[in-house]
Amino acid sequence: MSTDAGLRSRGRRLPLRTAVLVAVVTVLLLLVPWVFGAFTVMTFTRALVFAVLAMSVNLLTGVAGMPTLGQAAYFGVGAYTGALVGIHWSELGVVQLALATLAGVVAAVLTGPLAIRGRGVAFLMITLAIGEIGYTAAGRLDSVTGGTDGMSGIPPVVVTPGGSGLVNEGLIYYYVLVVAAVSYAAVAVLLRSPFGLTLRGLRDNESRLRSVGYRTDSYALAAYVYAGGLAALAGSLWASSQRFVAPGDLGFEISALALLAVIVGGVGSMWGACLGALLVVFTRDYLGQQLSGHAPLLLGILFVLTVYLLPQGVAGGRAQWRRLFPKDHGGDPGTVTPT
């Protein structure tokens, strides 16, 4: 796809501009708790968690070309694992994140071989089934998950050994921001590696890749496991920031919204996925609340408008933005802020 190729070539041509953009975004994100009230900060926290989940979905959907509706299952595995570790074992964030990611990796290793038997729509449907079975299981394994009542009483997450728990929403925001930034870097490194390039090959022409000797199924499984671990990491962040986990957190709606966030952001682009997650969460939680609970209506309008007006998503290059705003020649997609 031309999207990420264009992004990469632009990145090479304008490293200074990219660096400035990264710095500006970082400063803006760091300023959030100082500028906004508690509700908005918590919405930003949810959006960041959702951005990590969207990156996981995008790694499969946009990079490896395998659209998924099941990542909420691994998100849920991570959320419940993080919550259980927090309640029973360690309040240390690093321990919770590591064990949740490990649990997600194990879950993906076990279920991945089923999922990668299909490609395209078949893969989408297998992952949908995995997601729905995970959702149902979470509601019925009362002894582990607390059933449909959900799991509460998760202690505040502790960052350094012996430190105090994070209860202030601004500090929780920073905790989530740091972990999200590290995950973004981890995904960026992966995408620049030969492995990341092979995943793009998987998307663009799997049979050619196979014919030159790649074991494409192994690559698909590896991508699935990586994405599963990333989704579980997001789940642990969710448990730490909400301090409550319920089966609804791994329902179809979450998987679908994550996939739609990727489409809105621009399939294949990681910062697009993050921006899409921000847009979706703010449309649902912020605008939806302002307009007395008509969040689905707003989301519907967002999806329809994006598909028609920005065919390649928010991150899809400058040409489509220029077409939208003919006079604004300087319109850079990077300066479009989600709020």
Binding site: P67, G120, T136, G300, V307
Partner: protein, 291 residues
């Protein structure tokens, strides 16, 4: 054996009614996907629109049902036409954009319908003379469901015959198999696509009108029937009427007989069945051999 059969007869008949209802939904979804590569996630909305039509217009008389059917037909034609026109500019842009667009339309339509009909599930009564139970092999059974099975069964046979045995059906099947070749032979495939989209939408709304007493309209019903029909067409194989019928009847039984037999696993059955079929046969039970 006869004792077992006797104990589960009601579940099995329920399953047939349920399966045929799913067929009226799934066949349009399957053909539209097979022909246009369009994953129409607003298909459940059409059922809901039909069911609300039945709720608003049926007053327990036959005339009310007839009016509801006619209006449902028009709603289906209009809805199908609009959806076909909406996805037409997206040709060749992949499933994800179409899914996002149709899901967006479905979300908007669901909110609009909720504004008119409220947040309650609205039980819809069948015509008065059918709103009673009859005795079937010593079991009391709602008459309307038996009539529904007969009507939907005839509908299914007609659709099947039209698709498999008529020249129009041959044209549709050819377009599913190789659209470019059909176009090369001088057929305006856009008309075929539009027709199939409208036909599938009409089947869904008519299914909604007739099915309202079985699956009553309410918020969230559109999602539920959409997911059920997606499962049906995935199990049956995309783009095939026979597959849709097979999948619908199978899922009907899974949802009724299966639940009655293994209540403990009931919530897992639907997606468990789909997972099993997909893993063993990713192309569906009866596919045309397309990837």
């Amino acid at each position: 054996m006869t004792g077992w059969l006797d104990a589960h007869l009601v579940s099995m008949v329920d399953g047939v009614a349920y399966g045929l209802l799913l067929f009226t939904l799934a066949v349009g979804l399957s053909l539209v996907f097979g022909m246009m590569d369009v994953l129409n996630l607003a298909h459940g909305t059409l059922y809901l629109a039909g069911a609300y039509t039945a709720y608003a217009l049926s007053d327990g008389s036959w005339l009310g049902l007839l009016v509801a059917l006619l209006v449902g037909l028009l709603v289906g034609l209009a809805g199908g036409g609009l959806l076909a026109a909406a996805v037409a500019p997206l040709q060749g842009r992949g499933h994800l954009d179409q899914a996002a667009l149709t899901l967006g339309i479905a979300l908007i339509a669901a909110e609009v319908m909720a504004m008119f009909f409220g947040a309650e599930v609205l039980p819809t009564a069948p015509p008065g003379s059918l709103a009673r139970s009859v005795s079937v092999l010593d079991h009391s059974y709602p008459l309307y469901r038996l009539v529904f099975i007969a009507v939907a069964g005839v509908l299914a046979v007609l659709v099947y015959l039209a698709f498999e045995r008529s020249s129009v059906g041959a044209l549709v099947r050819a377009t599913v198999a190789d659209r470019d070749m059909v176009r090369a032979m001088g057929v305006d495939t856009r008309k075929v696509l539009f027709g199939v989209f409208a036909f599938g939408a009409v089947l869904a709304t008519v299914g909604g009108v007739l099915g309202a007493p079985i699956i009553a309209p309410g918020p969230g019903i559109d999602d539920r029937v959409l997911v059920l029909s997606l499962v049906v067409i995935v199990i049956g194989g995309l783009g095939s009427v026979r597959g849709a019928l097979l999948g619908a009847l199978l899922i009907g039984q899974v949802q009724t007989l299966g639940v009655a037999l293994t209540p403990a696993f009931a919530p897992f059955l639907l997606f468990g069945a789909m997972l099993l079929v997909l893993v063993l046969r990713p192309q569906g039970l009866s596919s045309l051999g397309r990837a």
